[in-house]
Symmetry: C2
Subunit: 697 residues, 2 copies
């Protein structure tokens, strides 16, 4: 097991702190129990009492359940405070100083392993304007004090009032602006139980209609108002029943920094030990891949019969082990590269280095498939015949080796001659070194040709029966396979075979705060104008299968076939005179079953090699062990809100000017109302003027 | 008459050009007829013939009405071209050269006074991908040739196919990117007659239900995809019937560079002369304020009995005169400042210079109203009494003079003592110069006090009955009137009167490509984070009166009253200890009857001076002759699309930290579907971290 350790924190409540106010004792106890940190309330009830005396009158409004702010200098209509209190309140507003007995933490050395909960009685979204403003002031005081103590994260109480979510968000933004390093997390319940009940869904049911989205929608409103501040995170509270998977998966693309699991979210197993429900296990197993801090609360309350207070953390450590053990080859291979934006390779422009080849050659699937495809192609040749094969882009030789293996398996007197074409002079040295070994074979001969497959000259008798290439990028055609193979068709006899014979690009709308933030906070608007290669993790595909219109969640953009069924006008070198036949345009409509924010497009490809042999990164049918391709990500420069049951039209173009190739893209959003399709939003056209991210021919 | 000359162009069609191909002759003829320019088709039919031979096969698809592109090197399925033609087509795609006889213009000196129409047969939005790509290539050829000739504007044929509007826009953007100076105008019909008919509207009817918006919506999609390129304009084609005013007013906020009026859009008057319909006259009169080029076409066709071909331009010159003559004082005063973004004044921080006072004192209305209010306030005093008046912010003395005039009018033995308070030491010199003149009055005495109204000290017996101030900004409170008057209340006796006694801020959602472009193309994202003072012209208020919910188009944010009805905690100088009581929050919902793009908020104010005397910039009841205040503009950093019948929630806050005052704002958009209110979009929070645009206390 080589996985990561998930940080887990134990929550120390006010009662425990009152019984032993020495924070370091609690930290050390937690370490002993295999925790990594503790969480605690930042302020004491004494502070609440003082704040309320200043800012809330309990006298007149007892019957309203919640008192209104009322101070002489204030905004409220009922002035009931005495002058002395009013003056103290104004002095507080000016100075904002705690008494030592109003806070639970006061020493710098206590703060290293703690996460603090801000006062849970703050009402940043109170209907009362006075209470809102005074709550914001109290929050700023906590934030300033937390910064002073170098506390790294403050968790804010959950918003309660959808109508005043903009007020809540504004206060959060003001708090963020008032410090430089402090992280703020907004506590958000994973569901609204009232909403689940209304939808007729108990958490046990898997059938579900409708979209229990209000808690996610509140979170989305806050982070959008806060302009995706990288210091704003989400503390997901699992104290409520989990919503059905369709709604749950939405959280996977959010910046979840803490997952709060109260002890009563565990169920007792047969022996009375606390365990999580199946769906909760699945959810946690996915979530912990991004290493949020798990906050366990109420562990001392004795809610479960067996295992005691440490049973919860033990169970989580067990889940961590399960998650790490079940990681796929790709996940292990890509560990550290998850959600990491890479500029796509330009192997045509740049010569790859040997270590890059080394990584690609480690793929346990790709070369097997090529070998299998070559084998099937050779089986379709007569026994006792010679087949001429061109391997274009031979690299360090894996496809050459695969072809030799294939002819040996095909047997029955079949022989091959391989023309290994490579334009990278450095890789040619490696190829030369393998020639002796290859030419030991009785049924295969290998000839090395240095040069660009579009330029090398050859005689008619040198033409080949089979052309093997591995020029595909994450989006299929994005490393210029179509253009290179156009030029390499000269190496093939009429009716010759190309492996791959055709390939198709696929696309789907995605949501990912992580990717969006990476692109938007790189400091240059141009960064939103290029596609990236990314191993997706905190990413959610927003589109769904739409049975009515037969629309798929992941849709086909376009294909390239080799040899082409069209005849081109050729130049004197036998290459197409222009590249305009390789332009493509796609206009696709996706159905969005549950509200989300579009941050870009996910691109995949599928290639037919030969017979029944395919390569695929399509999310519904990719080979989990194949390492060679991560998906591609086309960013959109503004988060585009997609309501439940909306439709998004994606436009994507592959363009060329004969010197370069590039993609442009845009989206439009529609909802259906009164049987009509109404446009509600659209993006600009992306990448129309990007100068540096075109792919050189 | 001091108005501007509206540029008018005459269209020279191909027949006229064929009869006399010397462009300069046509230009000179146009000048003689009081035109400023000519328009003409840029290419000849010979070019169309060649392009079609290359790119379109007429053989197989004659019956489909429109042929498909089909070339050997191409993308189409039916390959019918001969090899020679296919080769010529590919050579064209590579080189793109005109024959001299394929273009109407070829000399630099011909181009100064012409606007060119791009080939009207280009199908940038054809359903056929091949035709689209080849049309784009032909457009780029025209654009390159136009740039070579320094032609400043090319008018593009109207888009025809909503489904492929993204393809159209992409080609336009590519054309813009391929040049640096050339302006492109997209021709858009003012309405879709089919749509008008469907809505049961003939242009004569003023009653109208529904929203004939498709031509506007197409334009909006194109310019949004093109990211509001400042080189992209609109050529509005009045060849179709005008839609009803509600839909028509939408065009007023768009960058209309040309208005195309075919002769047949004129009707014959009693004598057979061509005139425009009443609604068309109104529309043109508004539009020509922004000086688009009026393009008259078909003037030689003899469509009207009387007046000949020059009757059309004569009529337009007559309308130009009417428009200039009817300009209001404000329009004349603000000429040159229309849609010009100004940073709001900070008179508290900066001392105004004498010329600024001079401009403000020219207002023919404001000082009359102050005088009238003071007069009414004095009438409410006993005859034969002395009234003490403080004029705070006396400036160069207009309010002092007004008070003296008022007491002379009030008569009946009333006398006044004026304490003129001014913090600007330079203005105090001017005030000193007027003292002798003022003190000549038998019933008024004036005392000059140099200092900040919040700081100057005074004895109880110096306190005043009336406090007169003119501290209001474009949004009422935005020049810190509330804070200054809080401090000046010390100068007033208990139960004294403030003129103004209260003021209210108003807001409405607006659309304006002009203002949005000004803000977005100033090069610094911070520019979208501050309010501006602007005399609106190419601005459209998007909200409407909603009778069902009783929502108004322009809504009230908040008010300030002086003296306040609240008692504040005071510091030892008699000023409020903190400024937090002057914070405000507004959450307003507007109904949007017709689709539009929100580019920001328009702010106004209304102040009650005394009795029935008001100052107002509220668009439904402002005094057209009052010059002192332009509205305020709060920008939104992305154009937010508002569908027909949507609702927009506006959040606006006035905030303070005791040192400064600033505004923050945001919007959320909703539509109603299935009786539910569904969120479809929102903005970020604006101005939360802007450091330089807060108003210093």
């Amino acid at each position: 097991m080589t996985g990561n350790r998930v940080p887990i924190a134990n929550h120390i409540d006010q009662d425990l702190l009152d019984s032993n106010p020495t924070i370091l004792d609690h930290v050390n106890d937690a370490f002993d129990l295999d925790y990594d940190a503790i969480t605690l309330p930042f302020t004491k009830p004494t502070w609440k009492t003082r704040w309320q005396r200043y800012c809330v009158s309990n006298e007149n409004d007892v019957n309203k359940g919640r008192a209104r702010a009322s101070y002489i200098a204030g905004k409220s209509e009922n002035v009931v405070q005495d002058r002395q209190t009013a003056k103290e309140a104004e002095v507080w507003r000016l100075t904002r100083v705690y008494d030592k007995n109003e806070v639970n933490v006061s020493k710098l050395d206590e703060c290293e392993s703690i996460i603090a909960f801000a006062s849970d009685w703050l009402e940043l979204d109170s209907p009362d304007e006075g209470i809102r403003f005074d709550s914001e002031m109290a929050l700023k005081q906590e934030v300033a004090y937390a910064s002073y103590l170098s506390i790294h994260t403050l968790i804010l109480p959950a918003p309660k009032n959808r109508k005043h979510v903009a007020d809540y968000a504004r206060s959060v933004m003001a708090a963020l602006d008032s410090t430089s390093y402090l992280q703020l997390s907004v506590m958000i319940p994973v569901s609204d139980p009232a909403e689940l009940e209304q939808s007729g869904v108990s958490p046990a049911l898997s059938e579900f209609k409708g979209d229990p989205s209000s808690t996610w929608e509140v979170w989305d409103a806050i982070r959008t108002l806060c302009d995706y501040s990288p210091r704003l995170g989400l503390a997901l509270d699992l104290g409520q029943p989990l919503p059905p998977p369709c709604a749950l998966k939405r959280w996977s693309s959010e910046p979840t920094r803490q997952i709060i699991i109260p002890a009563n979210a565990f169920v007792g197993n047969a022996k009375g030990y606390p365990v999580l429900s199946k769906s909760c296990q699945e959810f946690i197993k996915e979530q912990i891949k991004t290493l949020p801090t798990i906050v366990l609360t109420e562990t001392y309350e004795g809610i479960h019969k067996s295992g005691g207070s440490k049973a919860y953390v033990q169970y989580l450590r067990y889940m961590e082990k399960l998650s790490n053990d079940s990681a796929t080859s790709v996940e292990q291979f890509a560990s550290g590269y998850m959600d990491w934006l890479q500029a796509p390779l330009q192997p045509l422009l740049d010569n790859l280095d040997s270590s890059t080849y080394e990584i690609f050659e480690k793929d346990p699937i790709k070369y097997q498939k090529y070998e299998q495809a070559t084998y099937l192609a050779l089986l379709d040749k007569e026994p006792n015949s010679l087949t001429r094969i061109a391997v274009v882009g031979a690299g360090r030789g894996p496809l050459v080796q695969g072809a030799i293996n294939a002819v040996e398996a095909a047997a029955e007197g079949r022989r091959i001659h391989i023309m290994a074409v490579e334009k990278n002079p450095n890789a040619c040295v490696t190829l030369q070194g393998r020639m002796d070994e290859w030419n030991e074979s009785k049924i295969a001969s290998v000839e090395l040709v240095f040069g660009d497959m579009r330029i090398i000259e050859l005689e008619d008798e040198q033409k080949n029966d089979i052309l093997i290439s591995e020029l595909l990028g994450s989006f299929g055609d994005n490393e210029l396979s179509p253009e290179c193979l156009d030029g390499a068709m000269r190496l093939l006899k009429p009716y010759g075979v190309s492996i791959p014979s055709y390939y198709t690009s696929y696309i789907a709308p995605l949501s990912s705060t992580k990717l969006y933030n990476e692109v938007m906070h790189m400091g240059d608007a141009k960064n939103a104008e290029m596609p990236y290669v990314v191993m997706f993790q905190a990413v959610n595909i927003l589109s769904g299968m739409d049975k009515e219109s037969n629309r798929k969640a992941v849709q086909q953009c376009w294909s390239y076939k080799h040899p082409s069924k069209y005849e081109f006008v050729m130049d004197r070198n036998g290459n197409p005179m222009t590249n305009y036949h390789n332009t493509r345009a796609a206009h696709l409509t996706f159905t969005i079953p549950y509200a989300g924010v579009l941050h870009g497009l996910a691109g995949y490809f599928e290639a037919h090699l030969y017979g029944n042999v395919w390569l695929s990164t399509h999310p519904e049918r990719y080979d989990k062990e194949m390492l060679s391709w991560f998906p591609i990500y086309f960013p959109i420069n503004t988060g585009v809100y997609l309501p439940t049951n909306s439709e998004v039209d994606v436009h994507l173009w592959r363009l060329t000017d004969n010197k370069k190739v590039w993609f442009e893209w845009s989206v439009e959003v529609f909802v259906k109302a009164d049987e009509k399709r109404i446009k509600i939003n659209q993006s600009k056209l992306h990448n129309h003027d990007a100068k540096y991210n075109r792919i050189e021919l």
